[in-house]
Amino acid sequence: MTQLHDLLDTASRAGSPADAQPAHDIATDIRLGRRALLRRRLAAAGGGVAAATLAAGAIVGGSALFNGPAEKAAPAGAGVSVSSVDSATTAVLVDADVAAGPFHFAKVPQGWVSGASSEFAGNLVPAAGGVSQSAQDFAGKITALPSTQDMPEGINTKGGAGVVSVTRSVDGPGDVVSLTVQVPKSVGLTNAQLTELAQSVTLTSAVSAAAG
């Protein structure tokens, strides 16, 4: 150990007894890390719109409800992947009682079932499979994402990598004030169906918003 090292040792110590023993909360580091990881995975999944809802201060360029063009896509229930976004069958939205973690869907596209979900994201997956089993990988899935940010309501068709999203206001749980449902365009839901799907989602108290 050198003398300069000794000086730096002294300088690196706390300036006061109060600073010397700060109560550090590792749970906060983990929570912030999870949020950052979720944002990164959203971006990697091509969920540009959903990722934007998670960024503080982000503004989604959502158009008014029913404004966008109707989407044509693959048969509902088929294995969906990011690369299969442009087929041509309109989906059927059916009444359901599907719990995706703490998210409840009263309507789902025919052939879609509950997938691995978390307190941050409720996922529906094609019954035929073909998507990741990770709750935080949203590629090819229908995903409900709560936010503490007051997001503009409406449908956004300009998300990246073949996804469309619809955002609506919600009143909790906790600080959650917005809910965005991200749907692969390949599912083939019309704007009216997208809105109906989003309106059918209810949140239990276990839901947490990933927005910072």
Binding site: H5, G15, H24, I26, T28, D29, I30
Partner: protein
């Protein structure tokens, strides 16, 4: 990697590494407690996201210090810093730094003031070379600069420290020959 496994490994790592990271951060931020804590938290969040890479690293603590120093330099380039505020969580796991008792306050302030006179890059070199005892090669690799640049910055930093701390000159002169 399952999140519970990641969380357990990360918690063990933070418990071990955070006190040292915080002390390095205090040197880099020349005693700005709030900025040092912010810097460490930002680095820990980045490490959590990249945890598979961190866990595979030969020396995760060295990996963390490298991220800390580069985070400090990036942060220093920003005109406006943004603070990330902590949130309450009922499940708290507290870490109390050990061996972190306050030292000689006058000497501490003298050294911090002297460090504050250095540009961020030189300060980073001093911390890596003389606080963490990294080699020139290791310091160059961490900062993404040449070994010649490390030696040059180290020389300039020690000269400036000599000017700022004339009473410590013999100590620093000895250090200057080690670069």
């Amino acid at each position: 990697m399952r999140s519970s496994s990641r969380d357990e490994e990360f918690t063990a790592f933070v418990t071990q590494a955070r006190p040292g990271l915080l002390r390095s951060a205090r040197l880099l931020t020349t005693g700005d407690v709030a900025r040092a804590e912010d810097l460490v938290q930002q680095v820990l969040v980045r490490l959590y996201v990249r945890w598979p890479n961190v866990a595979r690293a030969d020396d995760p603590v060295r990996y963390a210090h490298r991220a800390l120093v580069n985070g400090f330099i990036d942060d220093s380039r920003r005109v406006h810093r943004q603070r990330e505020w902590s949130t309450d969580d009922p499940a708290r796991s507290e870490v109390i730094a050990e061996g972190d008792e306050p030292g000689d306050p006058i000497r501490r302030q003298q050294v911090l003031t002297a460090l504050a006179s250095l540009p961020p890059g030189q300060r980073a070199v001093v911390v890596l070379r003389h606080w963490l005892d990294w080699s020139v090669d290791q310091t160059a690799h961490a900062l993404g600069i040449s070994t010649g640049a490390v030696k040059s910055q180290n020389h300039k930093a020690l000269s400036a420290l000599r000017d700022a701390l004339p009473e410590l000159s013999p100590v620093l002169t000895t250090e200057g020959t080690s670069s």
